[in-house]
Amino acid sequence: MQKLLLGMDLCDDYSQVCCMNPLTGQTEPLLLGAGEETCLIPTVICRGRGENAWIIGEDAYAQALMGSGVMVDKLISLAKKGGSATIGGVKYSAEDLMVHFIGGLLDLVREKYGRAQIDSLVFTVQQMDGALADLLVRAAERCQIPRDQVRIMEHSESFLVYALSQPKDVWINTVCMFDLTEDGLHYYEARVIRGRKPQMIEGRHERLEEGFSLKVLETPSGQHMADAILTSCAERLLDKKIISAVFLTGKGFTQIQWAGNFIRRIAYKRKVFAGQHVFASGAAYLAGDGLREETAYPFLFLCEGTIGVNVSLQVRYEGRSEKLLLAEAGTNWYEARNSVEIIPDHTRVLDLVISQVNSPRTDHLKVDLSELPERPNKTTRLEVILSFESEESLTVRVIDKGFGELFPASGKILRKEYHL
């Protein structure tokens, strides 16, 4: 039976779902509407008055317009703030609302594929923070998807995965993408850096100041102005770069006739693709990759949302000295959490080595252990926990675990932060 491997792009305006088909190796978007004409599902939820029935997407809009329900929108911002909404006198947390919204999306998927069990789910969001990531994992768990089957990534990483999932001639040189939504205009770039092992793919994301409201596109003069803005952006961003393909995505590019000059500018000696589900598709490719024995993406991903350094510790294990990698460059910061147990031997300092992947520079993060209780040598077991608040902020916690009943733990915790 075909497994359900999903990528779910969650944005404040629209959400999308793609399903990876392991047999074809391709992703399929979840299409809605009478003629299955759109994959954009408004990120809104509505609860009918006096009922406990939750409706999502366009139907939620319709119900709210008819006055038979209360609608809540901007669910991602609400989740980031840890906010709540009161509907019919009942206060719902952002997590509750997200559970109903994600549950509604999953019901649509289950209905389409006729299967109840979700085998893997990868969320992708514009920008991740710890609170949102934790909330999404909990919401997925409440939707019966175990934590170990859930991953979260940022749009930048989804774009890199999507680009690498295309035929090689697409990403032989730099690949770029314009994402035009109500939220603004975003530019993404992906470049494979060859000649090193593992191969590295570097991503860049820029939120362009030239962004405009999509309402502009409703009039010919507005379209003309938007075309001029985009053409100017393309000239600035693509100039003197060897680019093999340009992707266009976002609600602003559902139609591209209005952007004639822009298209001519970007299409010169390049492939241009317009599509609506790049991020959800990238996430779905990753969902499928998780079930493979060997990854289809043997690259080191360096982009927003992934860490750009290796964090290691020189240890002795089974009598041999070795470098223990605690956090690996290219890992999504949310997943780069790690913990180990160690015993200091004639040392009162924990010396973590932070090495950049792009330069020979190394730095040292030293944690002074002298605040821990005095004990005989090698009778203090420490749990070292590395966690990231973002791709740039590393926190190290050291917990005194004592030495069994011989030297009971004090439970003291040392904490050190480091800006990468």
Binding site: Y317, E341, K378, E405, L406
Partner: protein, 271 residues
């Protein structure tokens, strides 16, 4: 050698209980530490099914378990202890060398000296009743009459200290009196004097005969200083740290502390 040792990460479901010390071991590092520092307590029966199961099943060191089972019949206990320490890698080669030397020095000692060392190890671990039992057995052994007086005096002294730690003042004073009689040691007499200060009913003027008034005055001063210091150190200090906390934390902290002391006391008397 300095550095950082990486621990294997696994939680044991059933720790290894060390009856002599009244505590459980939860990791291979703790097992190594126990062997290294308590070689005098370890006898042939240490290598038994319970230990093999702990090493193989709980610690997941099946190769070591297999090796020990295979060599149990052919190798000496000391060699097998070294095999355990080597395989766990908690101690480096220098430390293993010292352990080997410690074992051979122990092997060269007389049975009486080994027995005293066992008592001393239990004393150092706070197992006072067990230590006193060992000293009693040693003092009752047939050859003790021929042993060096200083050695026997030291055993009496240690026995006295082990009994004093159990608040058995009369018996402690009696042991110290024997130690003083055998050695004439001023240090032993001072401790005897202190015990008589703790429990005046134990005093026997004969034991301290010949002590000058100056010496007695010095001991008295030391005794008072030690008693004064005790108010601000050790267990008293542990309790004081909780007095600054708010009502709820203070009550919880002190309750936990008293529980800990009770546990420690029970362990010291073999409970």
């Amino acid at each position: 050698m300095s550095g950082i040792l990486l621990c294997r990460s696994h939680a044991v479901s059933e720790p290894y209980y060390v009856e002599e010390l009244g505590l459980s071991l939860y990791s291979e590092e703790e097992l190594s530490y126990y062997i290294y520092h308590n070689a005098t307590l370890i006898e042939e029966d240490f290598l038994d099914e319970r230990l093999y199961r702990f090493i193989g099943t709980e610690l997941g060191m099946t190769d070591l378990e297999r090796k020990l089972r295979k060599w149990q019949e052919q190798a000496e206990l000391s060699e097998l202890l070294l095999v355990i320490l080597q395989d766990i890698h908690y101690y480096d080669s220098d430390e293993l060398f010292h352990f080997r030397e410690k074992l051979s020095a122990l092997a060269k000692k007389s049975p009486a000296a080994r027995m005293k060392e066992k008592g001393d190890t239990l004393f150092a671990a706070g197992r006072y009743a067990a230590a006193a039992a060992i000293y009693d057995r040693l003092l009752a052994s047939p050859g003790i009459g021929r042993a060096d007086k200083l050695f026997v005096g030291a055993v009496w002294y240690n026995n006295g200290m082990a009994l004093a730690r159990q608040y058995l003042w009369q018996q402690a004073a009696s042991c110290l009196a024997q130690a003083c009689a055998l050695t004439g040691s001023e240090e032993y007499k001072k401790k005897y004097y202190w015990i008589t200060r703790m429990a005046p009913e134990t005093a026997d003027a004969d034991v301290l005969r010949g002590i000058s008034p100056d010496t007695a005055a010095r001991w008295e001063k030391e005794w008072k200083t030690a008693r004064e210091n005790a108010r601000f150190s050790g267990k008293a200090q542990q309790a004081i740290t909780w007095l600054d906390k708010d009502n709820i934390r203070r009550a919880a902290g002190l309750t936990e502390l008293v529980e800990e002391w009770k546990k420690e006391y029970r362990r010291s008397i073999g409970g």
